[in-house]
Homo-oligomer: 100 residues x 2
DNA sequence: TAAAAATACTCCATAGGTATTTTAT
DNA sequence: ATAAAATACCTATGGAGTATTTTTA
Protein backbone atom coordinates (compact mmCIF):
# COMPACT_ATOMS: atom_id res chain seq x y z
CA UNK A 1 0.00 0.00 0.00
CA UNK A 2 1.40 3.33 -1.04
CA UNK A 3 0.58 6.94 -0.33
CA UNK A 4 0.67 7.53 -4.10
CA UNK A 5 -2.16 5.05 -4.54
CA UNK A 6 -4.34 6.92 -2.09
CA UNK A 7 -3.57 10.14 -3.88
CA UNK A 8 -4.47 8.51 -7.19
CA UNK A 9 -7.82 7.36 -5.85
CA UNK A 10 -8.55 10.75 -4.31
CA UNK A 11 -7.66 12.40 -7.61
CA UNK A 12 -10.20 10.25 -9.44
CA UNK A 13 -12.85 10.94 -6.83
CA UNK A 14 -12.18 14.63 -7.11
CA UNK A 15 -11.80 14.82 -10.87
CA UNK A 16 -14.66 12.52 -11.76
CA UNK A 17 -12.81 10.68 -14.50
CA UNK A 18 -9.60 8.80 -15.08
CA UNK A 19 -8.43 11.09 -17.89
CA UNK A 20 -8.76 14.28 -15.88
CA UNK A 21 -7.23 12.62 -12.84
CA UNK A 22 -4.34 11.53 -15.04
CA UNK A 23 -3.58 15.16 -15.88
CA UNK A 24 -3.65 16.18 -12.24
CA UNK A 25 -1.30 13.35 -11.44
CA UNK A 26 0.89 14.39 -14.33
CA UNK A 27 0.64 11.10 -16.17
CA UNK A 28 -0.66 10.19 -19.59
CA UNK A 29 -4.13 8.73 -19.76
CA UNK A 30 -2.82 5.29 -20.65
CA UNK A 31 -0.20 5.17 -17.94
CA UNK A 32 -2.77 6.23 -15.37
CA UNK A 33 -5.25 3.66 -16.61
CA UNK A 34 -2.69 0.91 -16.23
CA UNK A 35 -1.66 2.19 -12.83
CA UNK A 36 -5.21 2.05 -11.53
CA UNK A 37 -5.53 -1.47 -12.87
CA UNK A 38 -2.38 -2.39 -11.02
CA UNK A 39 -3.68 -0.85 -7.80
CA UNK A 40 -6.94 -2.74 -8.10
CA UNK A 41 -5.02 -5.93 -8.68
CA UNK A 42 -2.74 -5.26 -5.70
CA UNK A 43 -5.70 -4.52 -3.44
CA UNK A 44 -7.69 -7.39 -4.90
CA UNK A 45 -10.63 -5.05 -5.35
CA UNK A 46 -12.55 -3.41 -8.15
CA UNK A 47 -12.47 0.30 -7.35
CA UNK A 48 -14.65 1.53 -10.21
CA UNK A 49 -17.72 0.65 -12.18
CA UNK A 50 -16.23 0.47 -15.66
CA UNK A 51 -19.52 0.02 -17.45
CA UNK A 52 -19.92 3.79 -17.09
CA UNK A 53 -17.95 6.46 -18.92
CA UNK A 54 -16.50 8.23 -17.13
CA UNK A 55 -15.90 5.49 -14.55
CA UNK A 56 -17.91 5.68 -11.33
CA UNK A 57 -16.40 5.05 -7.94
CA UNK A 58 -17.80 1.91 -6.35
CA UNK A 59 -19.91 2.64 -3.27
CA UNK A 60 -17.48 0.79 -1.00
CA UNK A 61 -14.80 3.26 -2.07
CA UNK A 62 -17.02 6.32 -2.01
CA UNK A 63 -18.00 5.50 1.56
CA UNK A 64 -14.35 5.48 2.54
CA UNK A 65 -13.08 8.64 0.91
CA UNK A 66 -12.77 10.24 4.33
CA UNK A 67 -10.76 7.37 5.71
CA UNK A 68 -8.57 7.43 2.62
CA UNK A 69 -7.99 11.18 2.94
CA UNK A 70 -7.14 10.94 6.62
CA UNK A 71 -4.79 8.04 6.12
CA UNK A 72 -3.05 9.88 3.31
CA UNK A 73 -2.69 12.92 5.57
CA UNK A 74 -1.18 10.77 8.30
CA UNK A 75 1.36 9.42 5.83
CA UNK A 76 2.33 12.89 4.66
CA UNK A 77 2.59 14.07 8.23
CA UNK A 78 4.92 11.22 9.12
CA UNK A 79 7.00 11.89 6.05
CA UNK A 80 7.37 15.52 7.11
CA UNK A 81 8.06 14.71 10.72
CA UNK A 82 10.81 12.31 9.76
CA UNK A 83 12.33 14.84 7.41
CA UNK A 84 12.28 17.68 9.89
CA UNK A 85 13.45 15.50 12.75
CA UNK A 86 11.53 17.80 15.09
CA UNK A 87 11.25 15.65 18.14
CA UNK A 88 8.44 17.61 19.73
CA UNK A 89 5.79 17.13 17.05
CA UNK A 90 4.65 13.96 18.82
CA UNK A 91 3.88 15.98 21.93
CA UNK A 92 1.57 18.55 20.39
CA UNK A 93 -1.22 19.74 22.67
CA UNK A 94 -3.54 20.00 19.69
CA UNK A 95 -2.92 17.17 17.23
CA UNK A 96 -3.12 17.96 13.51
CA UNK A 97 -6.44 17.18 11.81
CA UNK A 98 -4.93 14.07 10.25
CA UNK A 99 -4.42 12.57 13.69
CA UNK A 100 -7.68 13.50 15.33
CA UNK B 1 5.79 6.88 1.05
CA UNK B 2 4.90 3.22 1.29
CA UNK B 3 3.54 0.92 3.94
CA UNK B 4 6.39 -1.46 3.14
CA UNK B 5 8.90 1.21 4.12
CA UNK B 6 7.29 1.62 7.50
CA UNK B 7 7.34 -2.12 7.96
CA UNK B 8 11.02 -2.20 7.00
CA UNK B 9 11.87 0.46 9.56
CA UNK B 10 9.83 -1.26 12.25
CA UNK B 11 11.56 -4.53 11.42
CA UNK B 12 14.96 -2.94 11.94
CA UNK B 13 13.85 -1.36 15.20
CA UNK B 14 12.54 -4.68 16.38
CA UNK B 15 15.38 -6.86 15.12
CA UNK B 16 18.22 -4.56 16.11
CA UNK B 17 20.19 -5.05 12.90
CA UNK B 18 19.76 -4.84 9.14
CA UNK B 19 20.74 -8.47 8.55
CA UNK B 20 18.19 -9.90 10.96
CA UNK B 21 15.54 -7.51 9.72
CA UNK B 22 16.35 -8.63 6.17
CA UNK B 23 15.46 -12.21 7.09
CA UNK B 24 12.18 -11.17 8.66
CA UNK B 25 11.36 -9.20 5.55
CA UNK B 26 12.33 -12.19 3.42
CA UNK B 27 15.04 -10.37 1.51
CA UNK B 28 18.74 -10.98 1.18
CA UNK B 29 21.03 -8.83 3.30
CA UNK B 30 22.28 -6.91 0.31
CA UNK B 31 18.87 -6.24 -1.17
CA UNK B 32 17.63 -5.02 2.18
CA UNK B 33 20.66 -2.82 2.66
CA UNK B 34 20.06 -1.16 -0.69
CA UNK B 35 16.37 -0.81 0.00
CA UNK B 36 17.03 1.05 3.24
CA UNK B 37 19.45 3.32 1.41
CA UNK B 38 16.76 4.03 -1.12
CA UNK B 39 14.22 4.82 1.58
CA UNK B 40 16.63 7.19 3.26
CA UNK B 41 17.24 8.89 -0.06
CA UNK B 42 13.53 9.13 -0.80
CA UNK B 43 12.80 10.60 2.63
CA UNK B 44 15.89 12.78 2.48
CA UNK B 45 16.86 11.60 5.93
CA UNK B 46 19.51 9.47 7.54
CA UNK B 47 17.61 6.83 9.52
CA UNK B 48 20.58 5.06 11.12
CA UNK B 49 23.92 5.73 12.68
CA UNK B 50 26.15 3.68 10.42
CA UNK B 51 29.31 4.16 12.44
CA UNK B 52 27.97 1.38 14.66
CA UNK B 53 27.60 -2.28 13.83
CA UNK B 54 24.88 -3.25 14.02
CA UNK B 55 23.40 0.07 12.91
CA UNK B 56 21.66 2.18 15.54
CA UNK B 57 18.38 3.94 14.94
CA UNK B 58 18.78 7.71 14.97
CA UNK B 59 17.00 9.36 17.90
CA UNK B 60 14.62 11.24 15.60
CA UNK B 61 13.42 7.86 14.31
CA UNK B 62 13.41 6.12 17.67
CA UNK B 63 11.21 8.89 19.04
CA UNK B 64 8.70 8.25 16.30
CA UNK B 65 8.39 4.49 16.36
CA UNK B 66 4.92 4.83 17.84
CA UNK B 67 3.80 7.20 15.14
CA UNK B 68 5.27 4.90 12.53
CA UNK B 69 3.51 1.88 13.99
CA UNK B 70 0.17 3.65 14.18
CA UNK B 71 0.42 4.99 10.66
CA UNK B 72 1.31 1.53 9.39
CA UNK B 73 -1.69 0.09 11.22
CA UNK B 74 -3.95 2.71 9.65
CA UNK B 75 -2.68 1.75 6.22
CA UNK B 76 -3.28 -1.94 6.84
CA UNK B 77 -6.72 -1.21 8.21
CA UNK B 78 -7.63 0.77 5.11
CA UNK B 79 -6.29 -1.97 2.90
CA UNK B 80 -8.50 -4.48 4.71
CA UNK B 81 -11.55 -2.25 4.73
CA UNK B 82 -11.27 -1.71 1.00
CA UNK B 83 -10.86 -5.42 0.38
CA UNK B 84 -13.78 -6.43 2.53
CA UNK B 85 -15.98 -3.65 1.26
CA UNK B 86 -17.72 -3.67 4.65
CA UNK B 87 -19.43 -0.32 4.62
CA UNK B 88 -20.02 -0.14 8.36
CA UNK B 89 -16.41 -0.13 9.54
CA UNK B 90 -16.33 3.66 9.25
CA UNK B 91 -19.22 3.91 11.71
CA UNK B 92 -17.72 1.93 14.52
CA UNK B 93 -18.61 3.18 18.01
CA UNK B 94 -15.16 2.24 19.24
CA UNK B 95 -12.51 3.03 16.63
CA UNK B 96 -9.63 0.59 16.20
CA UNK B 97 -6.44 1.40 18.08
CA UNK B 98 -4.78 2.60 14.90
CA UNK B 99 -7.32 5.38 14.58
CA UNK B 100 -7.50 6.57 18.17
C1' DT C 1 -19.96 9.92 -33.50
C1' DA C 2 -17.30 11.83 -29.89
C1' DA C 3 -15.13 11.24 -25.47
C1' DA C 4 -13.32 7.95 -22.26
C1' DA C 5 -10.81 4.02 -21.28
C1' DA C 6 -8.07 -0.01 -22.56
C1' DT C 7 -4.40 -2.26 -25.15
C1' DA C 8 -0.05 -3.09 -28.08
C1' DC C 9 4.51 -1.92 -28.48
C1' DT C 10 8.83 -0.18 -26.98
C1' DC C 11 12.20 1.58 -23.75
C1' DC C 12 14.70 2.41 -19.49
C1' DA C 13 15.03 2.58 -14.49
C1' DT C 14 14.02 -0.06 -10.39
C1' DA C 15 14.74 -3.77 -7.48
C1' DG C 16 16.05 -8.32 -6.83
C1' DG C 17 19.79 -12.12 -6.47
C1' DT C 18 24.82 -13.94 -5.89
C1' DA C 19 29.43 -13.00 -5.02
C1' DT C 20 32.75 -10.09 -3.05
C1' DT C 21 34.72 -6.31 -0.48
C1' DT C 22 34.87 -3.04 3.22
C1' DT C 23 34.40 -1.79 8.04
C1' DA C 24 33.45 -1.82 13.12
C1' DT C 25 33.95 -4.65 17.07
C1' DA D 1 39.25 -12.48 13.25
C1' DT D 2 34.44 -12.16 12.78
C1' DA D 3 30.08 -10.43 12.00
C1' DA D 4 27.64 -6.62 9.82
C1' DA D 5 26.98 -3.72 6.08
C1' DA D 6 28.08 -2.01 1.52
C1' DT D 7 29.20 -2.58 -3.32
C1' DA D 8 29.83 -4.76 -8.14
C1' DC D 9 27.70 -7.16 -11.43
C1' DC D 10 23.84 -9.29 -13.77
C1' DT D 11 18.94 -10.08 -14.85
C1' DA D 12 14.02 -9.59 -14.76
C1' DT D 13 10.18 -6.76 -14.22
C1' DG D 14 7.61 -2.46 -13.45
C1' DG D 15 6.09 1.46 -15.10
C1' DA D 16 6.55 5.18 -18.34
C1' DG D 17 5.58 7.07 -23.20
C1' DT D 18 3.27 7.11 -28.07
C1' DA D 19 0.05 5.22 -31.10
C1' DT D 20 -4.01 2.71 -31.73
C1' DT D 21 -8.24 0.28 -30.71
C1' DT D 22 -12.39 -0.60 -28.13
C1' DT D 23 -16.49 0.94 -25.76
C1' DT D 24 -20.05 3.75 -23.54
C1' DA D 25 -23.20 7.67 -23.85
Amino acid sequence: MRLEWLEDILAVADAGSLSVAAERRRLTQSAFSRRMQFIEQALGVQLFDRTRKPVQLRPAVRDRLDQIARTAAAMRQLHNDLQLGDRRSGNRVVPPASMR
